[in-house]
């Protein structure tokens, strides 16, 4: 090729011109091959792109459809009962018809409150230790492995463990407190992990700035890291409340299934909604309208969880706006 020598000489000239010159000496055969191949590849890529899009769409619509169906059935069967004030604020009945679920609603939220009070310091403390104070090593790996393993244990196992340890061994009996301890154990791994993720998302530059101003590690964690991680932590807590309110297996063995009166002391037995729904379906046949009560309670519980999840998103957004993270 006669161009070789020329380009060789040209390379010594300023780069802009070299590029111009090289363009003129493109090998037309190679160019043709490349262009064909690009065209072929484009067609194939386009085809697979369509196939993948349709597949993914179909799968997600099936998944969502099943979920929507479940929600629809629950609401369809129970919403009319669930939104009656007489049902929400009414007294439960064990022997006659027309019972309400007010003590169950209170039980659920009382239990959630107690559980959060126990699990929050533990989970957030562990997360702060893991991310801000410990050095990556055997201990941190062990803690994370333990937490991840625990979060796969079925909640009924926690329920039986809680019954043996808190109800019987510590003598708490069937009570809100025994349930709160059990649910705290159950939810500790998730609270720890979500907090950890929220803390990890705090830019390292904030910590550097804080430390360089003469703050200690604890001051940095308290004044900069935790406040910046607050949206994530709050979201995690609200979602945890949702899980606690919806939990039945761990509650069956530790808190109780049915009460007539609103629980006052944490040492009293109670009947969170999810456990009471199970109770009504399995043992509630003493009252003829057990089906109405169970369905109404299920619909109400679903609404509560829905509101909590929406609330979690809202809180996160408000926080972020206040911090100026989103405009």
């Amino acid at each position: 090729m006669s161009t070789d020598l020329k380009t060789g000489v040209e390379i010594a000239r300023p780069s802009v011109e070299v590029v111009g010159d090289l363009c003129e000496f493109k090998d037309s055969r190679i160019e043709g091959i490349i262009q064909q191949s690009i065209a072929r590849n484009e067609k194939r890529a386009h085809f697979y792109d369509r196939v993948a899009t349709v597949t993914v769409w179909t799968l997600s619509i099936i998944g969502l459809g099943i979920l929507a169906f479940i929600i629809f059935v629950i609401l369809y069967r129970g919403i009319a009962t669930a939104l009656t004030p007489g049902f929400i604020f009414g007294k439960p009945q064990a022997l006659k018809e027309g019972g309400g679920i007010w003590p169950m609603i209170v039980s659920s939220f009382y239990l959630a409150l107690l559980t959060i009070a126990i699990v929050l310091p533990l989970g957030v403390g562990a997360a702060v230790y893991l991310t801000e104070f410990s050095r990556e090593g055997r201990i941190t790996r062990l803690v994370r492995f333990g937490a991840d393993s625990l979060s796969t244990v079925p909640s009924v196992v926690f329920g039986i463990f809680g019954m043996v340890l808190f109800v019987i061994y510590f003598g708490l009996g069937y009570s809100l407190l025994a349930g709160a301890f059990t649910l705290a154990l159950l939810n500790m791994p998730t609270v720890m992990r979500t907090t950890e993720e929220a803390i990890k998302a705090v830019p390292h530059s904030y910590r550097e700035a804080c430390l360089s101003l003469g703050a200690s590690r604890w001051e940095t964690a308290k004044k900069i890291v935790l406040p910046s991680a607050m949206p994530g932590i709050t979201t995690g807590v609200v979602l945890t409340v949702g899980r606690i309110v919806g939990e039945s297996a761990a509650v069956l063995y530790t808190v109780g299934l049915f009460v007539r009166k609103v629980p006052v002391s944490p040492l009293q037995p109670a009947a969170p909604m999810a456990a009471n729904i199970w109770h009504m379906y399995t043992e509630g046949a003493l009252v003829s309208d057990w089906m109405r009560v169970a369905n109404g309670e299920a619909a109400f519980l679903l609404l509560v969880v829905l509101v909590l999840n929406l609330g979690a998103r809202l809180i996160a957004r408000i926080y972020q706006k206040r911090l100026g993270m989103v405009s």
Partner: protein, 260 residues
């Protein structure tokens, strides 16, 4: 008391990250109330050297120092030396502006509050004074209660300087403070630093040689021989001398832009 006009004296300092030697045999005296710049090609350890001066390297796992780093006659790597106290005296401004996600006011008041100042009026005074010193007050005086993250990059960087000034440090370390800024914002920071040097000892790492030449009184040129070697000081002295009659051939090649 220690009076020789030097704020920092580094003697035969080596820095390791684990087994990796980052810096070797660094000898440097940093004069009071002057601007000292550290220049050198990427990866030569100039930022690491800067971070030895306020012990920010302590945050790196396995970081270790040999030799001595003396501030006003005291070895800052001494076992009993307070790191927190050191960082109060030696403030730092980072490459990317990093204001906290708080209001402008709370950013500047952060340091003073950390040291226990709670009094409203005192804090107001400190915030105003610091923002004035950082040449930012006029631009933000009406929006002190708004988020610092809404400021422009250049304003954020001046806010970071104000935040450092608010704790009344003696030394200000700046790690390529203008690399994320446009030329006008850079100009403002440079003017500001020239004003501040009457009161503070300033050490600035920069990859912009014109900036080092314009701004600093003394210049240290760092370099590594080969990939994997530790960074060393090639030449250190009066900025004028370094930029007009460097004694080392490598310095000359670097400042005339022939490598690096």
């Amino acid at each position: 008391m220690h009076e020789n006009g030097y704020k920092f004296e580094l003697e035969e300092m080596d820095l390791y990250y684990g087994d990796f030697k980052v810096l070797e045999d660094v000898n440097l005296e940093i004069k009071k109330c002057c601007i000292t710049s550290i220049i050198g090609p990427s990866g030569c350890g100039k930022s690491s050297a800067l971070r030895c001066l306020n012990r920010m390297n302590d945050l790196v796992d396995g970081a270790r120092i040999e030799g001595s780093v003396v501030l006003d006659g005291e070895d800052i790597y001494d076992r009993n030396y307070s790191v927190v106290g050191l960082r109060k005296r030696v403030g730092m401004v980072f490459q990317k502006p990093n204001p906290f996600p708080k209001t402008i006011y709370d950013n500047v008041a952060f340091g003073p509050r950390l040291y226990g100042i709670r009094d409203r009026e005192t804090l107001d005074g400190i915030v105003e004074e610091s923002l004035k010193s950082a040449a930012l007050f006029e631009e933000v005086k009406d929006k002190l209660r708004t988020s610092a993250l809404a400021l422009s990059g250049g304003q954020q960087q001046r806010l970071c300087i104000a935040r450092v000034l608010a704790v009344q440090p003696e030394v200000i370390l700046l790690d390529e403070p203008c690399s994320a800024l446009d030329p006008i914002a850079t100009q403002r920071i440079e003017d500001l630093l020239s004003d501040l040097k009457t009161r503070y000892t300033i050490v600035i790492v920069t990859h912009n040689m014109q900036q080092a030449a314009r701004l600093s009184d003394y210049t240290a040129f760092f370099m590594i021989e080969e990939q994997g070697d530790p960074g060393k000081i090639v030449e250190y002295g009066d900025t004028n001398t370094i930029f007009t009659k460097p004694t080392d051939e490598r310095t000359e090649r670097y400042i005339t832009g022939r490598f690096g």
